[in-house]
């Protein structure tokens, strides 16, 4: 019996290809996105397990800055189990790397580095690590990024040659681990340590003379997974959308295959095949096809993931500082899951058709379009459901904040819009029909309406793809505009310098003050504290017109800048304001080494891309409250043309590391590059989804064209030429596509609004001003029409070439 069933596909290879392609594409997009998510999560897990140097409690200088190394021996000899670590950043071949110096003998076991025990790093034992020339331990990814083999000695921007590289999978990517002595030399901080790591099992108390030390507990694990959750949720939502669009294709292909084989099924049933047996056989057929398509889809998904991974990794790095391994490694679980979702999706898409076959009355005459006739009531019901879904979407978006409800609102909006499409199009067609004067036109509209049920799934797919495309495009465009303006205000100084020490800072300031081309020097300090249980960067800045004139603000209390300058007010980031529910005029209490610092919120500013909260206060007030706060950067105002010369002179005169100075243009360039890469993945998925929709449209039209002949034959008999009929068919498709595309515009704006006003706020804590880009819409509408034209072309060409004899036979053969 399976042979009989499969013979259908032999006769209709195009239909088979459609089904397989639809399912494969859906599976590919879904499993590709899952692969990206899995890869990123695996990287976070590994990073959480990998040696970061930060996973144990530590003692730091309460006043900030480095500690004297002698404190290490003094504390050890007082019985405190500390281990010294020195940390910093180095720049190698233009890229920054985190460098940590550790002392493997005293390193607490809980810090998680076993590599020096000679296990993983073959031949790179303890002795090699601690004795000259030492070793630079790094993850395989880091070596790949450095483009250096094991044994090579990386050269830092300051001209220091690091110890030979040794590979260790135990070290977090992006981190270089050296013995403390070599690290102190590489960072130019001999005899200094950043912090003293404490054995977490130690329960003693610090000796009374250990003043000026502060205990810092490590951030709870899984931070990265939490921070990046929203990013992955976005990806997953995209994958799901693409998968659903793909299932539209499967649904229409399976529905058609069942429709065309009704005669065959009836014959089989009449020959004594039970309904259950027939259904089982059809299901088996479907599963075989789905398995084949699923395998191809998962393989394609792997290719998609591999192609997108570098951009995803770059986005996650730019947005969250998360290190994601750049080489795809997926387990059998992922392949099986991909195959599973393909089978499940195929069954779900074919469920209606299977039920129909199961209930098939043996004696029912073949009526291939009976389901279309019955669909009018269905369309009406769908219209009602659509209205309910859209209402639910509105309620969800308006009332519930969280990310989960934001996506639920998005889902309601999309499903509601898709369900409502046939009803809306039907109304439009009825209205058009009413205005039609000429009979052919009248028939054109009526016949188009007659087509609607068969095409509605494909049109829904097109609507969703276009709507999401417009929505995401609008969001990205709005973000780009906001981000560009924000960068301009934020990076108002012409150059930024990062002194390595207080002494160097003083030298820098004195040197800059003597330069005539420098109009202002804007020092700043930064420390980390917590507010409302959230990590918050506290930044001290100098009151200057640069900030008053340029710093982007969302809201500002009257006299806000003056209050900040006087040390009584603070500017807080949008994320912090939303999270802590703060508004201008509210009071905050910031924990500082000298006790809680009570400040009024003077204003709120956007701080895009920062996973932490931020508070900006007057520098002098911060220095008083937080003695020894770490120096952050030195903004330099100067004529833009003078900046390159100034930076060159700084390097020549003061030996400032080029890694520690950057001009405004370069900084903006870097920021924009990060921004663009962040949305590369979104754009790619967007385009792929649109492609799937085009395939869906093509499939629907191809399957439909065979059924068109009986309807067109009478018109031909009435005197319309085949050429004219073909043009009418094309016009019909274009009309439907155009209407769908036009409807996609308001849908897209609604999607964009949900993204910027609800999803982004829930996911990242910032809201963007919505900008509209009509030129992009025009492009998309054009694209949709081109798609429809392409999809209509093949069936229409076939129609135009149909011999008149066949058209005549229609009347004789029509069942």
């Amino acid at each position: 019996m399976l042979g009989v069933l499969l013979s259908h596909w032999r006769r209709k290879p195009g239909q088979l290809a459609t089904l397989l392609i639809g399912l494969a594409v859906a599976t590919a997009l879904w499993s590709g996105v899952q692969a990206l998510n899995d890869q990123a999560r695996a990287s976070y897990d590994r990073a959480a397990r990998a040696f970061q140097g930060a996973t144990v409690p530590s003692l730091v200088a309460a006043a900030g800055g480095d500690l004297d190394q002698a404190l290490f021996a003094a504390l050890r000899r007082a019985g405190v189990p500390v281990s010294p670590a020195v940390e910093g950043r180095v720049r190698i071949a233009g890229h920054p790397y985190r460098l940590i110096g550790i002392e493997p003998v005293s390193l607490p076991r809980a810090a998680g580095l076993t590599v020096l025990a000679g296990g993983e790093a073959t031949g790179e034992g303890f002795t090699d690590f601690v004795l000259p020339p030492g070793r630079t331990l790094a993850a395989p990814e880091t070596l790949a990024r450095l483009g250096l083999p094991a044994g090579a000695r990386p050269l830092t921007a300051s001209g220091h040659s690091l110890p030979p590289l040794a590979v260790s999978a135990e070290i977090a990517p992006g981190l270089l681990a050296l013995d403390i002595g070599f690290a102190q030399a590489a960072l130019g901080r001999p005899g200094r340590v950043s912090r003293l790591l404490l054995d977490p099992g130690w329960t003693g108390t610090l000796p009374a003379d250990a003043v000026g030390l502060r205990r810092v507990d490590p951030a709870p694990g899984g931070e990265m997974a939490r921070l990046t959750e929203s990013f992955h949720l976005n990806l997953t939502a995209f994958g799901l959308l693409a998968f659903l669009v793909g299932l539209f294709i499967v649904h229409s292909a399976v529905g058609l295959a069942v429709e065309q084989r009704l005669g065959m099924f009836r014959t089989l049933r009449a020959c004594g095949v039970p309904a259950a047996g027939l259904t089982r056989a059809l299901m088996a057929e479907l599963l075989v096809l789905a398995a084949a398509a699923g395998l191809a889809g998962v393989a394609a998904g792997w290719l998609i993931a591999r192609a997108l991974l570098p951009d995803v990794a770059a986005s996650l790095h730019g947005l969250y500082g998360a290190e994601v391994a750049g080489v795809l490694s997926l387990g059998p679980g992922w392949w099986l899951a991909g195959l599973g979702i393909s089978l499940a999706g195929a069954l779900a898409a074919a469920a209606a058709a299977l039920v129909r076959v199961h209930r098939l009355p043996v004696l029912e005459s073949a009526a291939p379009r009976a389901w279309e006739a019955a669909s009018r009531t269905r369309i009406a019901r769908q219209g009602l459901a659509a209205a309910a879904m859209l209402a639910a979407s509105g309620v969800l978006a308006a009332t519930a904040p969280g990310l989960g409800t934001a996506f639920a609102a998005m889902a309601c909006l999309l499903v509601g819009a898709a369900l409502g499409l046939p009803a809306v199009l039907g109304r439009v067609l009825i209205a058009a029909e009413a205005t039609a004067r000429r009979p052919v036109l009248h028939w054109f509209w009526a016949d188009t309406r007659q087509h609607l049920p068969a095409l509605s799934l494909a049109l829904m797919a097109l609507l969703l793809a276009l709507g999401v495309n417009i929505g995401v495009g609008t969001m990205v465009g709005s973000f780009r505009e906001a981000f560009t303006g924000w960068l301009d205000g934020r990076l108002a100084a012409e150059a930024y310098l990062r002194p390595a020490s207080e002494a160097q800072r003083a030298r820098l300031e004195a040197w800059l003050a003597a330069r005539p081309e420098v109009t202002a020097v804007l020092p700043s300090r930064a420390e980390e504290t917590r507010l409302a249980g959230w990590p918050v960067e506290l930044q001290g800045f100098t009151d200057h017109a640069t900030y008053r004139d340029h710093w982007p603000m969302l809201s500002l209390a009257p006299g806000g800048w003056d209050r900040v300058a006087a040390g009584a007010g603070a500017l807080i980031s949008e994320q912090l304001a939303r999270r802590a529910g703060l508004a201008p005029g509210d009071a905050i209490a910031l924990p500082t080494p000298t006790g809680d610092w009570r400040l009024g919120v003077a204003g709120i500013y956007p701080d895009y891309g920062n996973p932490k909260g931020q508070v900006r206060v007057a520098l002098a007030a911060m220095e008083a409250r937080w003695p020894g706060a770490a120096f952050n950067s030195l903004g330099v105002r100067a004529a833009p043309g003078a900046v390159p010369g100034l930076l060159a002179a700084l390097e020549a005169d003061l030996g400032l590391d080029p890694a520690d100075m950057i001009d405004q243009a370069a900084l903006k360039r870097e920021s924009r590059a990060i921004f663009e890469r962040t949305f590369t993945v979104t754009a790619a998925l967007n385009t792929l989804t649109l492609g799937v929709a085009a395939v869906a449209l093509l499939t629907a039209l191809m399957t439909l064209s065979a059924q068109r002949l009986p309807q067109l034959a009478p018109l031909w008999a009435l005197g319309l030429t085949r050429r004219r009929l073909a043009l009418i068919e094309i016009a019909r498709m274009l009309a439907l596509a155009l209407m769908t595309a036009l409807l996609a515009i308001p849908l897209g704006i609604a999607v964009a609004w949900l993204l910027v006003a609800v999803v982004n706020v829930a996911a990242f804590g910032w809201r963007l001003p919505l900008h509209l880009f009509p030129a992009d819409w025009a492009l998309l509408v054009g694209l949709a029409l081109a798609c429809a034209l392409l999809a209509a072309l093949a069936p229409v060409l076939r129609l135009a070439r149909t011999p008149p004899a066949q058209l005549l036979r229609i009347f004789a053969d029509e069942r």
Partner: protein, 359 residues
């Protein structure tokens, strides 16, 4: 302690670090001085107090104290305090500060009839976390120390304060002796096997001890006698030298006996030692003049160890049998060994320490 540390120390490569191996270092062949370390030469004459301090040109060295103690209730106890120095590279390798090629390891043990506790520490040299200094003598690692509280005279140490602790035990003792040190072998050049292997080796076996020991926070006062060994060498252990049974005994009437048995696969053990008269005069025991035989074995830490011994020194009319205070005196350190107090009965009763390695 833990697998990481164990692997860390294994990564030291050819260096044999366990006390067994450490002691066996001294047995290394004279001509086999490896990789540029200083050789042990018979012509070398020890000088004090300089030789109380470290000899970084040699591969391995230790300051090793055992004490047999008695509390006010008459209960026996024993403590061990050891500081090992291991050179990671011969002179000229490495540098200063963090690149100082010296690794230090401390072992401490406290044994009573029913309890045995021990702890282990590691530290790198060059940054003040561990080391040995002179004038005054001070050996330390983290908060453990063995340090002169007043200057010594001649080759002898001044009074010493000795302290160490682990999570569940600790001790703080003072050691005092007015004697000079006793040099083993020929003027401290101690030939250890028929192959001519040697170390520089001297002892101070005449310390009187007082202080307190504590177990699980409960301290008690103790008095007793202590024995310090100082030894350094450069050569690695031969593969067929499997282990070592070592005795230090405070005998009645004031004499001291150090005797050891080096076991080798496919050959008779090499047995020798030093008789130290009550006046402090060391008399080397020629191989064959002393016999050391196990009498009884016991199961300790999954191993079968000889814990009851007969020692015979016919030339001195000595025939004694030793039994352990606590058979479970197992030092489960990275390189595990048995080390605990023993009591001797027979012609020369007394107390002392036994060390069994390589089992």
């Amino acid at each position: 302690m833990n697998a990481e540390r164990r692997r860390l120390i294994r990564a030291l490569g050819a260096l044999a670090l366990i006390p067994a191996a450490a002691r066996a270092q001294g047995f290394a062949g004279l001509g086999a001085t490896a990789g540029g370390f200083a050789p042990v030469l018979p012509a070398t004459r020890l000088a004090f107090p300089a030789d109380h301090g470290p000899h970084p040109a040699f591969r391995i060295e230790w300051w090793y104290v055992t004490a047999v103690l008695t509390d006010a209730a008459g209960a026996d106890a024993g403590v061990q305090w050891t500081l090992f120095r291991i050179a990671l590279a011969p002179p000229g390798g490495g540098g200063t500060g963090w690149q100082t090629p010296q690794l230090w390891m401390g072992h401490a043990g406290l044994t009573t009839a029913t309890t045995h506790r021990h702890h282990q520490l590691y530290a790198r040299g060059g940054v003040g976390q561990a080391g040995v200094g002179l004038a005054p003598f001070r050996a330390f690692i983290d908060d453990w120390h063995l340090a002169e509280t007043a200057p010594g005279r001649g080759s002898g140490f001044g009074p010493l304060a000795m302290a160490a602790s682990g999570p569940d035990f600790g001790y703080a003792l003072t050691l005092a002796s007015d004697r000079g040190v006793a040099l083993h072998g020929i003027d401290g050049y101690s030939v250890k096997s028929e192959r001519g292997q040697a170390s520089h080796y001297y002892s101070q076996p005449f310390f009187d001890v007082a202080g307190s020991i504590s177990l699980d926070g409960a301290a008690r006062a103790v008095t007793g006698q202590a024995w310090m060994d100082r030894e350094w060498s450069s050569q690695p252990l031969d593969p067929d030298q499997t282990g070592w049974d070592w005795f230090s005994l405070h005998l009645a009437r004031g004499a001291k006996l150090m005797v050891y048995r080096l076991r080798q696969s496919g050959g008779a053990p090499y047995v020798t030692g030093t008789w130290i008269t009550p006046g402090g005069h060391p008399e080397p025991l020629a191989p064959g003049s002393v016999s050391v035989e196990p009498l009884d074995w016991a199961e300790v830490a999954g191993r079968r160890l000889p814990l009851v011994w007969r020692i015979a020194l016919p030339g001195r009319g000595l025939e004694i049998e030793t039994t352990p205070l606590n058979p479970q005196s197992w030092m489960a350190t990275d390189f595990a060994y048995w080390e605990g107090p023993i009591r001797a009965t027979g012609t020369h009763p007394g107390r002392g320490y036994l060390e069994l390695t390589g089992y």
